[in-house]
Symmetry: C2
Subunit: 332 residues, 2 copies
């Protein structure tokens, strides 16, 4: 490892520590995304999966499994299954959101068509379940099937809650548990299970993944408002799509009559002009909604780290703790 440990970002340090496993993950991804019958499948998959995603979810599987002393190689299967489920949800999300860009490249639905994105997503779901059958561990299958159900429930809930100013913080939490935390927690929990972790460690790993995922998504939503333009993402996208993120929910709750009219026009009616993105940010700031949302994210980071403390000491445990800190510190 030639990286400067103190300065490298936590996910880079994790990647270095898990280098060999990640190479095996990459090889298995390329093997299992093939389809003899339909060559378009690996084309669409490769476009997305090789576009330089951070492989965060596979790393969570691998780190949890290694931390619990995994033997054999089925943690690699599991990491690929989790990445396939993630890729399938991205393909379907981009259809649902009619997205044009992802990871700085045109989306698959734009390059090919919505149909290909829907069907290749379905294929990757199926391949994920095939991969999980191989280790023969029913608990792992159970965890991943539950995660898949929670993910789609969260997405449907988000769809129904969009443009609804009455959306509660409770609903927001359900939405982000579905869209992000469910797969994070399934990754860490199942990583532990495949390594033969006991019930306490399994619960701690699940709670870590859940809290990390929630913190991650809260910050993601914040960055849409106050972040510098990230690659492949435009500031204010959530606002334009009428998504009720936590700072919006809090600003709406504190709004006076005039502000409420603004939110009704922008969120409920979807009439968004360029200047509205800045006005929305200013309103959130006025009511302390950005600050309190950041505090909420930090609360979840603390929960994530508290869960980790119940696990055995290990260099990977420290990296996972640093990762939790980084999730709220990052700027993209």
């Amino acid at each position: 490892m030639s990286l400067d440990h103190a300065r490298a970002k936590p996910h880079d340090r994790l990647a270095a520590a898990l280098e060999e496993d990640l190479l095996a993950v990459g090889a298995l991804i390329r093997e299992r995304m093939q389809s003899e019958a339909a060559p378009r499948i690996p084309q669409v998959t490769a476009h997305l999966i090789e576009a330089g995603g951070k492989r965060l979810r596979p790393m969570l599987v691998l780190a949890a499994a290694r931390l619990m002393g995994v033997g054999g190689s089925y943690h690699v299967h599991l990491a690929v299954a989790v990445e396939f489920i993630h890729t399938a949800t991205l393909l379907h999300d981009d259809v649902v959101d009619d997205s044009k860009q992802r990871r700085g490249r045109p989306t698959a639905n734009l390059l090919w068509d919505n149909m290909s994105s829907v069907l290749v997503g379905d294929y990757l779901f199926a391949r994920a379940f095939q991969l999980m059958v191989e280790p023969g561990n029913l608990r792992v299958l159970d965890i991943l099937a539950n995660a898949a159900a929670t993910i789609s429930e969260g997405e449907v809930l988000q769809l129904v809650a969009a443009r609804d100013l009455g959306t509660t913080e409770e609903t927001y939490l359900k939405v982000i548990r579905g869209k992000t935390a469910a797969l994070f927690s399934a990754a860490t929990q199942a990583g532990g299970v495949i390594a033969g972790a006991g019930a306490d460690a399994e619960a701690a790993l699940r709670e870590y993944g859940d809290a990390l995922g929630i913190a991650f998504q809260i910050v993601d939503d914040l960055l849409d408002i106050e972040g510098t333009a990230a690659i492949g993402k435009n500031r204010g996208d959530d606002l334009r799509e009428g998504k009720l993120t936590l700072p919006v929910i809090r600003a709406v709750a504190a709004a006076d009559g005039e502000e409420r009219a603004f939110w009704t026009r922008v969120i409920a009616r979807g009439q968004v002009e360029d200047a509205d993105v800045e006005r929305a940010r200013a309103l959130m700031e006025r009511h302390g909604a950005l600050e309190s949302t950041r505090a909420e994210a930090e609360l979840w980071v603390a929960r994530a780290k508290a869960a980790l403390a119940r696990l055995p000491e290990h260099p990977l445990r420290e990296m996972l703790a640093d990762l939790a800190d980084y999730v709220v510190a990052r700027e993209v």
Copy 2:
């Protein structure tokens, strides 16, 4: 049973023989399609699943399991899982085909939106895998995961082959194996496995389902050309969508120069006028493509019945044989 056995249609006789199991299937469908988090999910699901589908695939599971002497109730779980996978593929297909009608009612993508259809389909896939984890039978999970992969491969292949006059009969067979036969054969095979069938019976059940599914889809494609208008389906839909079905492939292979120009305009370029549907039918008839396609379907029916002959004698076995005959005899 008050039905006149000799006259009732085979699937009605199967439904009568499996009445108790089918009631349990209906109850479990209603239980498992719920979502506390997202009430839109059961709304969309109910619209499709209660629209009077024939429950053919669940019946194949139940018949195979009963034929092999199943005990317990996990064959009901499996039947619901298969129906959920089928419903998920219908939801996604209607998005892919931009369909307006299914089973005589407006499609979910029309009543709600494409997003709901994509996400509710994903939810049902996940619920199907949850259901299959419960019996704790890894072979069943393997069979269903493989079927799910083959289904999406077949759908992608159909997408890529559409409007391609060079499509071969081999490709057509792969497409219909994916879109129809894969779930039929998974239903009968897994039904046997859950009943503890031996390897020979399992193989015979798989072959029966595969051959039945292929015959079923060939006839479905024929009915699009020569059938009376079925509820919720318009004659000539496949032609308008540029689908290369078996009689089209055979008529194209036998076409003279002028006919080839016709197929190029209609299929490859997608310029279809109302009179073209009848002209296409006449060209297929001229080259005997309709007749030879029907013979092909009958060949698969014979294969289905030959596979059945390797299974123990049982009233359900005779009903499955009658079902195979009915598949080519039906007019809708």
